[in-house]
């Protein structure tokens, strides 16, 4: 029996669709990352409230992208296709979802104003705690 061209190329088609999906996602990630880097370089002169608001805005954008990256990663795993190009985007976007912009800014103020605790101090405090 002779297989039609469409039948014989079906697996390759699925792979091509997946590879294009990965290419789009990595490009979107790199673009968003570049925009965030640009903002980070300009952000220093802005009030804390603006920085928190912009960070949350970027977190919202990256939440959408993270969901798509995570889905593609899962699909790649289940379909036996290589999604390793998404790993950096996955790691970074996942980390971004975990940030609390207000606490990061509060921490930066802590450091600027000398409210810091050394690792040694932290360990001593822990040793004094009841278990």
């Amino acid at each position: 029996m002779v297989r039609s061209a469409a039948q014989s190329s079906a697996p390759d088609s699925a792979l091509a669709v997946f590879q294009e999906r990965v290419r789009v996602l990595t490009t979107l990630y790199e673009t968003l990352n570049g925009l965030m880097r640009g903002w980070a370089e300009r952000a220093e002169g802005f009030p804390d409230g603006v920085q928190v608001a912009v960070t949350r805005q970027y977190q919202a954008f990256s939440a959408d992208l993270f969901a798509r990256v995570a889905e593609a990663r899962r699909d790649g795993e289940t379909g036996g296709m290589d999604a390793s190009a998404l790993q950096d985007a996955y790691d970074h976007l996942r980390a971004m979802q975990m940030f609390d912009a207000e606490r990061v800014i509060a921490s930066i103020r802590d450091v600027e104003e000398g409210r810091v605790i050394s690792l040694e101090q932290a360990r001593r405090e822990l040793q004094g705690q009841p278990r």
Binding site: M36, A40, A95, S107, I108, R123, L126, R131
Partner: protein
């Protein structure tokens, strides 16, 4: 070459409220490792908190079963040989 590591008070207070003591100890071990080998951990900028050079690095957190991954946001000051930790987050797998 090791680096002095400081935790911002806001981070420390947060950790004290939200993490069990054993997990805090494991976390301090990991952060200490970061101070001992900053070059191993700081491989590229992480941009969300890149202000003032803050970087983040996801770290596998295997010591405590309850937690799967750790993200530390820190600033690396090579001139003063100090790492300031701005934020710490732990996620389940």
């Amino acid at each position: 070459m090791s680096f002095k590591v400081n935790l911002a008070e806001a981070v420390w207070l947060h950790l004290r409220k939200t993490l069990p003591i054993t997990a805090q100890e494991s976390l301090l071990d990991l952060i200490e490792r970061l101070g001992e080998h900053p070059g191993d951990e700081i491989d590229r900028p992480r941009t969300l908190s890149a202000r003032r050079g803050a970087l983040t690095r996801p770290i596998r957190f295997e010591e405590a079963d309850a937690f799967a991954e750790l993200v530390v946001v820190f600033q690396y000051d090579a001139d003063e040989r100090t790492i300031h930790v701005y934020d710490v987050k732990i996620s389940r797998a």
